[in-house]
Amino acid sequence: MKFTIVLYAAPYSSQASLSALRFAQAALAQGHKIVRVFFFYDGVHNTSAFSVPAQDEYDLVQAWNALILVHEIDAVSCVSSALKRGVLDAREAVRYERSGSNLLESAVLSGLGQLVDASLISDRVVSFGA
């Protein structure tokens, strides 16, 4: 079955990011396909490579990064949510004259159309929020 996962919540602020990650891992373990992970609203913080948790804490952002890379999942951070929360890729950093970019290497910035598209081509859309 094809899944789309939508994550509305930032890591560490609530349990939602970990819940979504565990669901994704379980779905993949059962042989399902994750068509897209869409990071929306505060969920875009899951795609900030500048996140540095303490050494004895679970690194949620890198866990997402690894899952996305290993399983070649399409990961989209909502561009309007991301820019206003300070999550930029190199192109946006140049465009808006910011000193650096921090979007996770495994994610891309794109628009809501990607969520609509994912909904259309998935069998199930599962959302997690705070």
């Binding site: 349990q15 819940s19 891992q25 379980a26 997690f128």
Partner: protein, 102 residues
């Protein structure tokens, strides 16, 4: 067409469970996750008042979140079952649509 509902907050802090129960129909499944686990007692009280299970609803809790809150399967009433992460995925597959209350 049946629906999977997930609820992730305690009814003391939100009206998510009330809203969910208002729209849930027979054959639907309510899965309590995260702090939604604490709604077990609320559902138990509701079921006792109605004198039956909740209108043909399937009620489940996510096992990891249950134990993380110091509860165990033996604490659950008969009409609520615990599912693991694979069970969560299976519920999402079994119901054609899902509503996530958060």
């Amino acid at each position: 067409m049946t629906t999977l509902h997930t609820v992730n907050k305690h009814s003391l802090n939100s009206d998510l469970l009330t809203s969910c129960l208002r729209v849930a129909r027979g054959g639907d499944c309510i899965l309590l996750i995260e702090d939604g686990i604490y709604n077990v007692r609320t559902l138990e009280d509701l079921a006792a008042r109605q004198g039956c299970e909740l209108s043909g609803l399937q009620c489940c809790v996510l096992h990891d979140d249950l134990t993380a809150r110091g509860l165990a399967e033996k604490d659950l009433p008969d009409f609520i079952s615990a599912v693991d992460q694979a069970g969560f995925v299976a519920l999402a597959c079994a119901h054609r649509q899902s509503v996530h209350w958060f």
